[in-house]
C-alpha cells in the first residue's frame, strides 16, 4: 500500500490525474488490486464506482494480473492487411490462451492492440518492452521459446 500512496502523491492527489495514477498502479502490480482502488478513492475522494467505470472502460487496465511478459499483437489496419490475424491465431494456439488471458504459469498474457504506430514494419508485435517487426507465423514458436528460456535480448 505504501507504493500506492507514493503513486497517488506523485500526482499530487489530483482527481484529474486518477487515470495516470491507475496506469502507474497497473505497471507496478500488473493489475489494479481492489485495495489500491479503495486507497485511491480514500485519498482523492473520487467515488469507487467512477474508478471502476474507468478501469473497465480503458483497455490499459486489468482487474486480474497480467503475465510477466505482455504480448501485444498489433491488429492495426496495415498489420491486418499483412497477416496479423494469422499471427494472433498462432499465439493463441501456441500459448493455449485467448486474447485477454494469461498463461497458467503467469509468464505470458496476450492482447490485441490497435496500432502501435510502426506500420512500416507490419506485422508488428511487442513482447514486454521489445518490439518485433515483419513477424511471420513460423517465427512465433521460436520467439516464445526465447522468452521461456529467459533469453530475451
Amino acid at each position: 500500500m505504501e507504493k500506492v500512496n507514493q503513486i497517488i502523491q506523485k500526482w499530487n492527489t489530483d482527481p484529474d490525474f486518477v487515470i495516470e495514477m491507475m496506469q502507474d498502479i497497473q505497471d507496478e502490480f500488473r493489475c489494479i488490486p481492489r485495495e489500491a482502488l479503495e486507497e485511491v478513492t480514500l485519498k482523492t475522494k473520487v467515488p469507487l464506482a467512477r474508478l471502476y467505470h474507468i478501469v473497465t472502460f480503458y483497455k490499459s487496465f486489468s482487474l486480474t494480473p497480467r503475465g510477466k511478459y505482455e504480448i501485444q499483437v498489433c491488429i492495426g489496419t496495415a498489420c491486418h492487411v499483412k497477416g496479423a490475424p494469422l499471427i494472433l491465431d498462432s499465439f493463441t494456439r501456441e500459448l493455449a490462451i485467448q486474447i485477454g488471458e494469461t498463461t497458467s504459469d503467469g509468464l505470458f498474457s496476450l492482447e490485441g492492440v490497435r496500432c502501435l504506430g510502426c506500420c512500416s514494419l507490419a506485422p508488428v508485435i511487442t513482447i514486454g518492452d521489445n518490439l518485433y517487426g515483419d513477424v511471420k507465423v513460423a517465427d512465433v514458436p521460436k520467439l516464445l521459446a526465447k522468452y521461456k528460456e529467459g533469453n530475451n535480448e
Binding site: 484529474d16 487515470i19 483497455k59 492495426g76 489496419t77 491486418h80 510502426c118
Partner: protein, 624 residues
C-alpha cells in the same frame, strides 16, 4: 540554463550553427520508434565509440534524430551536410562507413537502390520517395536532435513565437484564418475559425480559455503524429504557445497515447527544456505572457480522439463523448472555451507565422482567399503503408493524385501483385478502387468519393486482400471501441458485425447487403458523435466499389482473394520439390509426403495457419 529574452534566440542559433560547422560531417542516426526497434540506439553508441577510439570524435558528430519516415528500411543513417542516405545499417558496417566518409566515398551496399533502374542513389534528395515531398510539418525530421532545444532553435524554432508576442491577438487569428489551414486530425474544420470562436467566447464571458493538443493518434495505420512528436517536439510546443497567445490561454494540455512511450518521453524532455529557458512558464521571452503545458497519457481508448471524449478523459473520467453543440471552442474543458487541435495542425502554425499566410495558402488545392472552406491549403502528412513498395511517412502538397502518391512516391505494389484498393481516413474512412486513382487528395474530393481525409493513414491493398474481410475488420474495431453510450452506434455495429461475420463464413443470405445499407443509414443519422455517424463508411464504400466480392461470398460461397478461412483451402501444386520444410513446420502435422516427392495437405487436419505458404520457397502452396 538561463531564461532567455527574444533577442537571445539569435545568439543561441548562431552559437549552435557555429558549433555544428566545426565538424566535418554529422552522422544522423534515425531514432524513431521503427529504427529503434531495428537497433539504432546500439548503432549510435557503437559509432560514438569507434569515432572516439580513432580520435575522430572532434571531426565527426553523431546525432540521434527523430523519424525519417522510411521506417521499413531501418536503421537509417543520413550523413550531413551532403545528405548521403544509408539504409539497413548494421553494427559491422560501422568501420567501413567511417573509412569511406574520410575518403569522401560511399558504402555502396548500404545505399538505396532504385527499384526501376537498379542504380544506387547516394543522396537522399534524389530518391523519389523523398524528392516529391514538400516538408512543412516534418521540416526538421532527421535534421535535429529532438532532445536538444538548441538544435531546434538553430533551425528557427521559437522565432515565430517571438513574432506572435509582438502581434495583437486578432492579428494572429486573422493570419491563421487567411492561411486557409484546416484541421489535420480528420475533421478538416478551419483552424483560424475555431480559434476565433474560442477567443470571442472567452472575451464575452470574461473567462480564460484552454489549449489542447490531441496526440491520441488512434487511427490504425497512422503514425504521423507519433513521428512529428518524436522528431520535432518543439514545433508542437511552439504552435501551442502561439495559439495560447492568440486566444489568451494560460494553460495547455497534450493528450498522448500510452502506446507511444518514446514520443511522450521526448515531449516531456522538450517541455522541461523550454521551461528552463523561459519559453514556457511565467513571462515568456521576457513578455507578460504566461503559459504552461501538462501532458496526459491516454489509457487505450480509440474514442478519446473525439474531442469531447478527450476532454472528459483529461478530467479523469471515462472517455465518453457528449452531445454537440456546444462545441468545445464555446464550452470545453471545465466548461471554458477550449481549442483542440491535432499535433500536425500545431506543427504547421509556426511556419504559417514565419512565412506568412499567403505563402501557405498558395500551396495545396483550391482558392482559400475568400474562405478556408473553398479548398485545402498547405501540405498533408500521410502514413503510406500496407502492400506498397516504400512504406513510410510522406508529406505532400494537397491536391496531388492518389496515383502520384502510390506509384511515384510509394513505388507501387510489391511482389508483382496488382493494386486493389486504398483505404484512407481510418476506421471511419473508405476504400477507393483503382478507378479512383486519379482523384485529387484533398478534404473535399475524398469525402465526395465516399472516403475521407481523416488523420492521414493511407493503407494500400493488393489483390490478395479481401474487401469483405476489411469491412469486417473495421466494424470489429469500431464495435470494440464504441463507448456504448448511444444505441445506434452500439447496437448498429454489433448488427453489422454479425452480418459480415456470417458472410465471411459462407453463411450470407440474399438481402444481407440491403439490410446493411439500411442499418448504416440509421447509424449515420442517429448516432451521438462522429465515431458512430461515420462508422458504416467502410461497409458502404466497399459495397459501393466491390459489390461483386460481397456477392461471391454470399452466392458462390467463395472468397476470391483467398482470405476468409471458412471459404478457402490449402493444397500443394506440382511446383513441390519434396523439400519437406512445410511438413516440418506444420503445427498440426497436416502435411505428409516423402523426401523429393510431392507433398499432400490433409484438409481435415489443416487449420489454415499459413505457415506452409510462408516457408515454401517454390510457390508450391495454393490458397483457394
Amino acid at each position: 540554463m538561463n531564461r532567455i529574452q527574444s533577442g537571445d534566440l539569435n545568439n543561441i542559433r548562431e552559437k549552435r550553427v557555429h558549433e555544428i560547422k566545426k565538424f566535418k560531417a554529422a552522422l544522423m542516426v534515425c531514432a524513431g520508434t521503427g529504427c529503434v526497434s531495428a537497433g539504432s540506439f546500439k548503432l549510435k553508441d557503437l559509432l560514438e565509440k569507434e569515432l572516439k577510439e580513432r580520435n575522430l570524435d572532434n571531426e565527426y558528430m553523431v546525432v540521434p534524430t527523430g523519424c525519417n519516415g522510411f521506417c521499413a528500411q531501418g536503421p537509417i543513417m543520413v550523413i550531413q551536410p551532403d545528405g548521403i542516405f544509408y539504409q539497413k545499417v548494421k553494427p559491422e558496417d560501422i568501420p567501413e562507413i567511417i573509412n569511406k566518409l574520410i575518403e569522401g566515398k560511399y558504402v555502396d551496399k548500404l545505399l538505396y537502390k532504385d527499384i526501376e533502374t537498379g542504380n544506387y542513389i547516394p543522396k537522399m534528395e534524389n530518391i523519389k520517395f523523398f524528392g516529391k515531398q514538400q516538408l512543412i510539418a516534418l521540416r526538421n525530421k532527421g535534421i535535429i536532435n529532438p532532445e536538444n532545444i538548441e538544435d531546434a532553435i538553430a533551425r528557427g524554432a521559437y522565432n515565430s513565437l517571438a513574432k506572435a508576442l509582438e502581434m495583437n491577438q486578432q492579428d494572429i487569428i486573422d493570419e491563421v484564418k487567411r492561411s486557409g489551414i484546416r484541421g489535420r486530425g480528420g475533421g478538416g474544420f478551419p483552424t483560424g475559425v475555431k480559434w476565433e470562436i474560442a477567443f470571442k467566447t472567452s472575451q464575452e464571458k470574461d473567462v480564460i480559455p484552454y489549449i489542447i493538443c490531441n496526440a491520441d493518434e488512434g487511427d490504425p495505420g497512422a503514425f504521423m503524429d507519433r513521428s512529428i512528436v518524436e522528431a520535432d517536439p518543439h514545433t508542437v510546443i511552439e504552435g501551442m504557445l502561439i495559439g495560447a497567445k492568440a486566444i489568451g490561454a494560460s494553460e495547455g494540455f497534450v493528450y498522448i497515447r500510452k502506446e507511444y512511450p518514446l514520443a511522450l518521453e521526448r515531449l516531456e524532455i522538450a517541455i522541461s527544456q523550454a521551461e528552463e529557458m523561459g519559453l514556457l512558464g511565467k513571462n515568456i521571452l521576457g513578455s507578460d505572457f504566461d503559459f504552461d503545458i501538462k501532458t496526459h497519457r491516454g489509457a487505450g481508448a480509440f474514442v478519446c480522439g473525439e474531442e469531447t471524449a478527450l476532454i472528459s478523459s483529461i478530467q479523469g473520467k471515462a472517455g465518453e463523448p457528449r452531445q454537440k453543440p456546444p462545441v468545445p471552442a464555446i464550452s470545453g474543458l471545465r466548461g471554458k472555451p477550449t481549442i483542440i487541435n491535432n499535433v500536425e495542425t500545431w506543427a504547421n502554425i509556426p511556419v504559417i507565422l514565419d512565412k506568412g499566410a499567403g505563402w501557405f495558402a498558395d500551396i495545396g488545392s483550391g482558392d482559400v482567399s475568400d474562405s478556408p472552406w473553398n479548398g485545402s491549403s498547405g501540405t498533408k502528412v500521410f502514413s503510406l503503408v500496407g502492400n506498397i513498395e516504400h512504406t513510410g511517412l510522406v508529406e505532400i502538397p494537397m491536391g496531388i493524385t492518389l496515383h502520384e502518391i502510390i506509384y511515384d512516391i510509394g513505388g507501387g505494389i510489391p511482389n508483382g501483385r496488382k493494386f486493389k484498393a486504398v483505404q484512407t481516413g481510418g476506421p471511419s474512412g473508405g476504400c477507393l478502387p483503382a478507378s479512383h486513382l486519379d482523384l485529387s487528395v484533398d478534404f473535399d474530393s475524398l469525402t465526395k468519393a465516399g472516403s475521407m481525409m481523416g488523420s492521414g493513414g493511407m493503407i494500400v491493398m493488393d489483390d490478395k486482400t479481401c474487401m469483405v474481410d476489411v469491412a469486417k475488420y473495421f466494424i470489429s474495431f469500431l464495435k470494440d471501441e464504441s463507448c456504448g453510450k448511444c444505441t445506434p452506434c452500439r447496437e448498429g455495429l454489433i448488427a453489422l458485425y454479425q452480418i459480415l461475420d456470417r458472410i465471411t463464413k459462407g453463411e450470407g443470405k440474399n438481402g444481407d447487403i440491403e439490410l446493411m445499407e439500411e442499418i448504416s443509414q440509421t447509424m449515420s443519422l442517429a448516432s451521438l458523435c462522429a465515431l458512430g455517424q461515420t462508422a458504416a463508411n467502410p461497409v458502404l464504400s466497399t459495397i459501393k466499389y466491390f459489390r461483386d466480392e460481397y456477392e461471391a461470398h454470399i452466392k458462390d460461397k467463395k472468397c476470391p482473394a483467398g482470405v476468409c478461412k471458412e471459404l478457402i483451402s490449402y493444397s500443394v501444386n506440382d511446383n513441390c520439390t519434396g523439400c519437406t520444410i512445410c511438413s516440418k513446420k506444420c503445427p498440426v502435422n497436416a502435411i505428409s509426403g516423402k523426401v523429393k516427392e510431392k507433398h499432400i495437405i490433409d484438409p481435415e487436419l489443416c487449420i489454415k495457419c499459413n505457415v506452409c505458404y510462408e516457408v515454401c520457397k517454390f510457390d508450391a502452396i495454393e490458397v483457394r
